[in-house]
Symmetry: C2
Subunit: 664 residues, 2 copies
């Protein structure tokens, strides 16, 4: 049966141009061509195989990761890949490694926070990987509260040096990826102290290991922090611990773009506005949202294909059973996640544009939109990563028992994904930042200050707090304007209710703390509105390809109505819709699922993932699941011998009732 | 600082008798004494250590599991432990092993389905572990739909034997625990065929491996199915694959309590009613609900203690930061889970009673309550396992970054727990069974048939579909009768709405399929009502101990109001409460959290878990988290050398720009 496509029948049912949808998904014809070529290149490279990962010990896995990183770098240079191609290459290698932090945090941070001179010195070294950098911020006792970091960098005017020190156990750097074993350098964050005065947290470039023999430099204690969730997942990464015992670095290794320490030890702000640094944060969070749609789409691709392969119940007289994808319970759990993958893709695309836009504004010294951009990226990071983590686990459950096997790919995808809910801002902490911004925006409404960007709907507060949804029949729920207004009404009413509750407190900070749970819910409502509205905006563009736009319209409606159903309490309690309208939305949702059904496989094919990248027996492109599950089983080390290791010592004496005298 | 209790201050704040709460949690003073003694025995046994599990390879882990099982059996015999003590012992060993299936499935199934003669033959062998049994039901292509199993057992009248065969790849047995490497025998399920006629699925005792050398018997292909979620978790279990190539077993190895095959090959029902077999299912699911509260309480214990240790933000002028447990966002996520642990414990306790009750009724040939009991156990299994799986992951997130470390205990707890959502009935399939029963109950209301047990509230349908919740102020939400009526109204109104929607379909099965998502939601509403009502019933008992009942009352209210808040859409759309009342419930919830706060640590201490059993650095009883996290890190194999294995091959040439000629 080699080469047979078990899903061919499913593919033939598609009502749209899959190739054009691939272009929409990845962003452009050019991006599709490049990514497709590089994905196949990676998939065909035996050094980059992934299917043996879960059988490795931690040490083997880590060594294998070093090998892949070196091999990847070699191939990138040999093939003279462009930066775009190299970035796709690293993406498809799909194994967390020190290179992620080097390219994703160390380099961008020096670019953003280093002076021109510093950039000239350090970036060429980093670009050529003559040094390996990591980003050492989080400490054992300090994560979200960056201002609470304890590591100190004390200026010594005698030697023109900073002395880095870890004064307490809780000040040990803890978590930075690449730090444990690989990095030669770090951007390390420490409280700057000059002349006995604490100037708060600043970044410093610190060499950690000798470039000759990789041994830690004097005063530096460094190591790996140990096993993490999953058996592959992030265990390929050397998240590290680092302690400084009065380590000296030259003064010019403080990153001095926005603030400097002079030769005399004076702390001075430069003329570069601090706000410029936010650009990096917007960039990083924009990447995280894009990654969310990628992770989610992988999980959905696996679960959708397997749901078409798996059959259960529904056969009469020994006939063939029903494909589980045909059950409404399966559809109502799976299809909203498929729609979410597309929704997050488009909001991520929009964030990319927003980053470019805000960067231009910052460079023109226009900081006016920064708070809104900051709130919006923080909120979308929170919303999309939380939803994606939950969705991956839901997809695993949708694969029934077999989803629990490592070779389904889903356990590892979950384990490798979930840190996204915590790193770069804990998701709840971020929602509260959004809420703070929303409360400020609401409080300024009476003054006539016009809300900008994603909050501009708040400028129509008067209308939105008294408007009534005019859905009367199921089809009314297909109108974008109706959906949008319901989401806007719900979001603003929740914000205003919070603001009113807050106003009853004499101490605003106490009120904020007391009501934080409600505030977080209001922030979620605001962020869901952004996702829906950006999806709707996307559909206002010209989208070529037979049936492509129709499919996207269907997905957009599914996403929106699913969010309404899931958060019905919000919509009803704010009076944004009525119970009857909620019930109509739910009815509409069911018929949208039926419309999606014949296109389901083609819609996940449009992600254009290779079997190598998916890494799932259940999600194989050809749907040939069972023979491959069976074949994979025999590869487990436990099957190397028919009688297991330990039989003589621990099973035989037990069965023979001879345990009494055994030494166990 | 050895021996210092960092949580002493928290413990001193408790407003109730913790020792009495321990009794309530575990069920009796006697159970507390026994479980406490055995827990300490296990914790102090060096063979039973767990902290090194995640560093083992699969083979090492499995061998270690065999060792623990043999050692445990030896100790149980040496110490002449009673069955109660032995069962606590196995519980605290806390590592999935073949013994779970031997004691939990193989033995009970022979008891339930074997004739007296069969029991006399097989049970003594099983009790003395002279044979190791497993339960081989699920097949590669068949899980939920037991009637779809493909394995055949064909009676051969010439030799008076059954011939077991695996006719297709998808008929391979797949998943049974203990099958892969350890079991000598199985209860295997196969389609019984006599004289060319298929009599459906029956159970057979089949020897798999030689008792002399443990080699598979002729015609049997058996092995392990490979790695599963997590790195420890269920990888200590040899979930197996099994194929029969015309394997012959004597006729008397068909389990013949309810149906027999005669010497002539005639299939005859015995006079034992088939319904008796349901007793085993009720028993197993009752155990699963009890396990849910145990798993949930472990996760909550870890997250609660660590939330009291962890501090973040809120310090002014460098003072000490705020304990994260004092944040309302933390409380609103954590405390409902603490309440759920108690709620599930009490509903589990009640299910234990129900099992005894139904067993007595079955023995008296009274099958009247069986459908209700079946629906109720299926629904509670689904509800509690789904909630627990989600809650463990939520607890992990509540521990921030450090929850992602294996030694937090939470990743492994999650990975080892989640299969409970799938085994013994997929949770969604079970909800649909409940829904089917609810629809039947509703349809019989007009005929005057009185609903029994957990559905008896449906007898008051007339009142419940038109009653109005009369909550006017926050305190009204503390009245059990008010809470109960709101839950009853919501549940019955959702059921009746489904029934009405169903009645619009000419084909009921089609209607059921189309509306299955709504039906599942109605089933959840019904099951949540059961949990709430059993908690309220528990509080009507006499509960000794200073402040114990008050704490439980608080937890009960938190559970109920949290469910209302989370499912507000249901309560509002059915008109069971108003938006204003929903908002009051939420306000009340906040003040209940404040009441719980000083008792939080004591309430998790009442679970009486040893540090060994918890297996979490973050959840340590003494709260001494950071020094222990730091110390644990250095034990990782990656830290055996300062310079990592692979440096010479993969890092040095890269840094020195000498990759070009390297062989990688």
């Amino acid at each position: 049966m080699e080469g047979v496509d078990h899903l061919a029948h499913e593919r033939s049912k598609a009502q749209f141009d899959v190739d054009q949808m691939k272009v929409v998904w990845v962003g452009s014809r050019h991006a599709l061509q490049v990514s497709d070529r590089i994905a196949r290149l990676v998939a065909s490279d035996p050094v980059l195989r992934k299917d043996n990962r879960t059988m490795m010990t931690r040490k083997e896995l880590f060594k294998n990761t070093l090998r892949k990183a070196a091999h990847g770098w070699k191939r990138i240079n040999e093939l003279r890949l462009s930066e775009e191609e190299a970035s796709w290459f690293r993406h498809y290698v799909d194994q967390p490694a020190y290179t992620d932090l080097h390219w994703g945090m160390f380099v961008p941070f020096i670019k953003g926070s280093g002076t021109e001179e510093q950039q000239k010195k350090w970036l060429p070294l980093a670009y050529k990987l003559q040094i390996i950098g990591c980003y050492a911020q989080t400490e054992l006792g300090h994560g979200s509260n960056v201002q609470g970091l304890e590591t100190t960098a004390t200026f010594d005017p005698k030697t023109d040096e900073f002395v880095l020190n870890s004064p307490t156990l809780t000040s040990s750097k803890w978590w930075p990826g690449g730090l444990g074993k690989a990095a030669t350098h770090a951007v390390a964050f420490a409280r700057l102290i000059t002349d006995g005065k604490d100037h708060g947290v600043n970044g410093f470039i610190v060499q950690l290991r000798s470039l000759d023999d990789h041994l830690p430099l004097p005063g530096i204690t460094v190591g790996d922090i140990g096993m993490k969730f999953g058996n592959g997942a992030y265990n390929s990464m050397d998240n590290g611990v680092l302690r400084f015992d009065n380590v000296r670095i030259p003064r010019d290794q403080m990153l001095m773009r926005v603030a400097q320490v002079t030769r005399e030890g004076k702390y001075v702000q430069s003329n570069v506005p601090r706000q410029l640094l936010y650009g990096t944060m917007v960039f990083v969070r924009q990447t995280i949202v894009a990654d969310a749609s990628t992770a989610l789409s992988r999980a959905v691709c696996i679960a959708t294909r397997y749901s078409a392969v798996r059959r259960q119940f529904g056969s009469e007289n020994g006939g063939v059973e029903t494909q589980v994808i045909d059950y409404k319970t399966q559809q109502s759990r799976l299809f909203p996640l498929l729609a979410s993958a597309y929704a997050f893709r488009f909001v991520g695309e929009w964030l990319k544009w927003l980053y470019t836009d805000v960067t231009q504004k910052l460079q023109a010294n226009d900081f006016s939109t920064l708070p809104e951009v900051h709130a919006c990226t923080a909120g979308l990071k929170s919303l999309t990563t939380s939803a994606t983590a939950d969705a991956i686990e839901e997809c695993r459950k949708l694969c029934g028992g077999h989803g629990y096997l490592s070779n389904s790919g889903l356990p590892e995808l979950f384990a490798v994904y979930v840190p996204a809910c915590t790193y770069e801002g804990d998701n709840v902490v971020l929602l509260l930042q959004v809420a703070r911004f929303l409360m400020k925006t609401v409080s300024q409404l009476p003054s006539g200050k016009k809300p900008v960007g994603t909050t501009s709907y708040m400028g129509r507060a008067e209308h939105l707090i008294q408007c009534r949804c005019n859905v009367q029949k199921v089809e009314d729920w297909l109108k974008p304007s109706v959906i949008l207004e319901a989401f806007e009404a719900r979001a603003i009413r929740m914000s205003i209710a919070c603001a009113q509750d807050l106003s009853k407190f004499s101490n605003q900070e106490e009120g904020f703390a007391e009501l934080s749970s409600n505030l977080a819910e209001a922030a979620v409502a605001h962020c869901q509105l952004i996702v829906v509205s950006k999806f709707i905006e996307k559909l206002q563009q010209d989208i070529p390809g037979k049936g492509v736009k129709e499919q996207l319209q269907n997905l957009c409606n599914i996403y929106a109505l699913y969010i309404i159903h899931k958060n019905l309490g919000d919509f009803l309690s704010t009076g944004s819709i009525t119970a009857k309208q909620g019930s109509l939305a739910n009815d509409q949702l069911r018929s949208l699922y039926s419309k999606l059904r014949p296109n389901a496989i083609a819609l996940v094919d449009a992600f254009n993932y290779t079997d190598h990248y998916l890494g799932s027996v259940l999600g194989r492109y050809d749907g040939n699941v069972y023979p491959n599950l069976y074949a994979e089983a025999w590869k487990d080390p436990l099957n190397e011998s028919v009688v297991p290791d330990g039989y003589r010592e621990y099973i035989q004496p037990l069965l023979k009732n001879q345990l009494r005298n055994a030494r166990l």
